[in-house]
Symmetry: C2
Subunit: 690 residues, 2 copies
């Protein structure tokens, strides 16, 4: 189709604009990209996988938003299967496969199979069970899912209602759903895909003294075939299906499943750590699965590293678009001829997106630290001793809560900063926004898991108060001792004085605030013995303050190590990011800093000017900094965020040449029941779909 | 389909739970509902329209999320046409029609026709133009849209690129799109529906002294036929279509349109206020359209009243669900037998949703005040004199910004407070969330229009400083005079002392902060002459503080008037809402209150306990308060928010009985290219849709 629009150009050339932006900064993008993304060969791997996937039509993204939800699952399954063929054809390893998932950018119906399903079998199966199941799993001869959460219970695993009752006569377990709320629910890949499931159920064993009474041995894991190998229909006694559309994850078949006195053999119970005796029906624990918690820190590290890349994607889009979008002349301009300003030059735009750009780096250095500690401690972890990781392991709940919230809120902030086009599909943010909104809830609800961090900090403070001069085993113990020794003669700090910013003072005030809030929590709970419930909000805020302190400390520490190898001006630019992240965080919770005597009240009003100056320093480097995150255009799938700046050409192309709705002509006369002009359908077509 | 799940019940009875909740409070729901929703017969109208629409299958909502985006437009058009037939059949008036739109809860392809399109013709058309067009419009013989925004320009109307050039020889205008960025963009109903458009274009008239040069007379409005009456194809010289999928508004065909030297007659220019002379080609202004700005306050009032109902919907869902959902036992409980707690009893849940419940009322009383003032001033407005409305008219930008942000953020906060099920389609919030996210951007971007409020406040403060004893024409002038008279001996207040809360002190601190920030803005801009751009963030914050002051003041004033007619305990419960809204708002910006000397620093730490106590007071009434907002179940379309509490039954029903994806069996073997089991499709079906 050709028409007069073919020869039209945007009034301003976006490509030239981005080129000029890049010309204004001497940050070495490739060097910074390597600094950020070298771990596990990320950059080379991305290049290799992208070259293959971007040529396969099945992975084309731009029509996804036009598909119905059933078609989105259909597509995701087709992609999951195709990926298996591609991975095998190219001989790619598991890291390559994970890169495929990242670039395809869709929660796959096979995702749980190689994460929770295989991990559970590997960690909780006996040697015999692993010999039996692992080959089938690795060949994808069976497809697994992980059925823990129920309709009535999520976070409280001990409250699960599904039962597995031991029948000593048949030597079988009977899995049963006594209530509707016992239905397994949300479990990914269970709805239409999985042939097998890890089922978590309350283990009930008959009491030896009374054959009608049962004792509950708590939640145990069972591996259960749920669908017929050939017909893919649910086995008799099982009702299973997809729970329906949701905010995001359109391609994933999150499922429900109930059991009607469904029988499984004794071998179904994963028995590395627990066993029911054939002969006596007695329950035996075989050691303690503490070791599985070792991977939690690694998983939480992954969540943070993922959060930084998701946030980097949104920030990439908004920074590039804002450098191209022009709106209004400067209000103080006296010339009628002045061009409209780039919106990225408005402080009201900067204040929303440049601190988020800085946040991507803040998340990075803490994620890196978690990975490093995990790898360093790997050997001792295997023995159940977390070593230097122990403290971070406890703190990781707070980091998960904070970092996923920063990313989820940050995506939406970026979207709104783009005005009208931010609401359009061409933003490329519709999908990640909807998908990422699950993260504040899954893997531990963000408001709930912070209670664990607070409990840990209260325990640490109690220890510090009891024995203020015991050798400090970790940074938090040292901090608390320092706090207790100084709290009576604390001088509140002023991190910004005149035009000077004191980085050590920044770290100090974040640490002091965390310590002081820990002390208050300790005092309320341990000394005043206040009810836990009454303290919950305070404890949530404590976890956040403590986690912010970790991000600030690690970001600052990074200057003394790796980033010093970067060429100028990058280290200085990263330091600007550090200050901007820290000062905007401080400003947003200013009263918490002053009330804890961390910051002097007179040091707060000067923050606004300091933040404006930092943003002005960062502004010229913004485009190059997002370039360094190396998000491929194919992954961005964003007209607004294209690396070549052809924003308006792409928006128009999507509308005029790639929108299936424009292929249909409608009958808009309200007197007629026909909807598609000339079809004579009388409106019945759409009714059939309701 | 029957199976063993038919006989299963949830472990706890949701219906009984909500009944018990309602039994705990003696708030008279019907009375409160009438208090909130009597204006223009809202409640009776809702009942009447609901009775009809809820019986028509076309308006069934529960399959919408399963439809493709093209089908969503198809459905929305079918509904728009059906509504016209229904409205005529029942002889309903325009308010009934607006109630239909509210209950159908979908932005209709006919929506712009009876809003921007007809309003523009009515307000800007000459008498002759109105005689010609109005009958066609009211009969929906033509369908109109409003084509102002362009690909390259939204808020800055003066920057529009489309031109309308007067050809004195032919006595015609030539409408033209010189750049790709001149494309009209986002305009609702233009994509597939509209036959006519109001086109906003720069009026270019030839200079009398040089027939090749033109003078720009700025944006003018033209009424233009864009599609053929019979074929519904674009007229020659016009390219028009739908811009594609976006965050929300799936049923609306937001469009793009470009003109290639498209000719329209002289009569196309709406000429009540401006005319081009046939004879000389000279431009004449006929009066000034100031009167059209009169309706702006009314529209902004509508936005706030709409925001309160949208927020009330989200709050209704989360309050009812949280009263039913149980999770974990009390951590301090010593009995193993205690039941799990309702999540609404956790302060960490309360702090997220009860202040939002209070916010619905805060928005209500300011919206009511705007309506009342508008109606009172109607006659003087017709003459271009806003009377007592003048000040609110200026302030309404700030209120729009604040209230739509509160609602948009509030919906998401409610969603997250529901944990896992909040991410599911059964929440009933997926649609309103996606649709409502447009509001912070449309009708004036929330970060931009606040600059207008700040400019107004700086002007008012400048006047007050110049003549501190001039008779105050409005509340802001009085406030500024009071501030200037007292600023040298201000004693910061403590709104909460011990267990007592001082409502007048609450109002005082909000007003003082707004006045002090106004003075600082005045000083920076007028005295120090700082660049506007440098002040933009500060000015945005000023607008927010000023708008919060309006909400707090109106909420407090409501106690002296209407709400005093309510029976106990409702007035006291509303007062609790007032305090909760005000104190959580104060706490969230505490440093702004202390830095302005509004609040004493020592008054801040006590807020947390006061807020906990207020939430405990409000807690027993929460379910009845949301009941009073009278959102019909049919509109909620939410399993979690059902008024009968059958949360789990409905979630399961949607998954097990109403999910089309469960009707298909898939081939999950990666070795096969077939996707639907037994179809032998080789995966080609989905490829055709990409």
């Amino acid at each position: 189709m050709t028409d007069f629009t073919d020869s039209l150009k945007p009034r301003h050339d976006g490509t030239a604009t981005l080129q000029a932006e890049r010309g204004r900064s001497s940050v070495d993008v490739d060097e910074l990209a390597r600094h950020l993304l070298s771990r596990d060969g990320f950059l080379q791997r991305q290049k290799k996988v992208l070259a293959v996937l971007s040529r396969v039509k099945l992975f084309k993204k731009d029509q996804q938003m036009n598909l119905s939800r059933p078609d989105r699952y259909h597509l995701a399954l087709a992609r999951a299967k195709a990926l298996q063929r591609i991975v095998r054809k190219h001989g790619w390893d598991h890291d390559d496969y994970k890169m495929c998932e990242y670039l395809v950018d869709e929660m796959s119906p096979f995702h749980l199979h190689m994460t929770m399903f295989v991990t559970t079998v590997r960690e909780q199966g006996s040697e015999a069970q692993k010999r039996h199941w692992m080959p089938k799993i690795l060949d994808y001869d069976i497809i697994g899912c992980y059925a823990q959460t129920e309709l009535g219970h999520g976070s409280n695993v001990r409250g699960l209602e599904t039962t597995a009752t031991w029948d000593p006569a048949q030597k079988e377990f009977e899995i049963h759903s006594p209530y509707l709320t016992a239905s397994k629910w949300w479990n990914g890949a269970m709805g239409r895909t999985a042939t097998h499931a890890i089922v978590v159920a309350q283990l009930l064993l008959p009491r030896s003294d009374n054959d009608k009474a049962y004792d509950n041995y708590g939640p145990q894991t069972f591996i259960v075939q749920i669908r017929d190998k050939k017909t893919h229909q649910p086995l008799h006694g099982i009702v299973v299906g997809d729970i329906g559309p949701k905010y995001g994850y359109a391609g994933m078949d999150n499922g429900y499943m109930l059991f009607d006195h469904f029988r499984v053999p004794k071998s179904a119970m994963l028995s590395r750590y627990a066993e029911v005796s054939d002969a006596t029906g007695a329950f035996t624990r075989l050691g303690h699965p503490a070791v599985v918690y070792g991977s939690l820190t690694f998983v939480r590290g992954q969540i943070i590293m993922h959060a930084r890349l998701v946030l980097a994607r949104a920030v990439t889009v908004v920074v590039r678009y804002s450098a191209i979008r022009r709106q209004f002349r400067d209000r103080d301009s006296t010339s009628e001829q002045d061009d409209e300003m780039k919106v990225l030059d408005y402080p009201t735009v900067q204040i929303r997106i440049l601190p988020l750009l800085a946040t991507t780096f803040a998340l990075h250095y803490t994620g890196e630290m978690m990975y490093s500690l995990y790898h360093k401690s790997r050997e001792t972890i295997e023995k159940g001793d977390f070593g230097p990781l122990a403290e971070l392991h406890s703190a990781s709940s707070g980091l998960k809560s904070l970092c996923t919230m920063l990313a989820a809120d940050g995506i939406e902030t970026c979207r709104r900063a783009m005005g009208g086009h931010g609401f359009g599909g061409g933003s490329g943010l519709v999908g990640i926004n909807a998908d990422y909104l699950s993260k504040p809830t899954v893997e531990g609800d963000n408001w709930m898991i912070t209670q664990q961090v607070a409990a840990y900090l209260i325990k640490k403070m109690t220890e510090a108060v009891k024995d203020p001069s015991a050798p400090a085993s970790d940074p938090t113990a040292s901090l608390f001792q320092f706090y207790l020794a100084n709290r009576d003669h604390r001088i509140p700090q002023s991190p910004v004085q005149g035009s000077a910013t004191d980085d050590q003072a920044i770290v100090d005030v974040f640490q002091w605030r965390a310590a002081d809030l820990s002390y208050r929590a300790y005092h309320a709970r341990v000394v005043e013995k206040k009810p836990w419930t009454r303290l919950m909000i305070q404890l949530h805020n404590l976890s956040r303050a403590y986690s912010e302190q970790i991000l600030v400390t690690n970001f600052c520490n990074s200057f003394s190590s790796s980033s010093s190898t970067l060429s100028a001006p990058t280290p200085a630019v990263l330091r600007t990011c550090f200050r901007l992240y820290a000062l905007t965080t401080l400003d947003a919770s200013a009263s918490s800093f002053t009330l804890t005597n961390a910051v002097a009240p007179h040091a707060v009003p000067v923050l606004q000017d300091a933040i404006l100056d930092l943003m002005a320093e960062l502004r010229p480097h913004a485009v190059k900094l997002v370039d360094a995150w190396s998000i491929p255009d194919w992954l961005l799938d964003s007209a607004l965020g294209r690396s070549d700046g052809r924003v308006y050409e792409d928006l128009f192309d999507r509308a005029h040449r790639r929108n299936p709705l424009n292929g249909v002509t409608f009958n808009v006369d309200w007197r007629s029941e026909e909807i598609v002009l000339g079809s004579g359908d009388g409106g019945r077509g759409i009714l059939a779909k309701l």
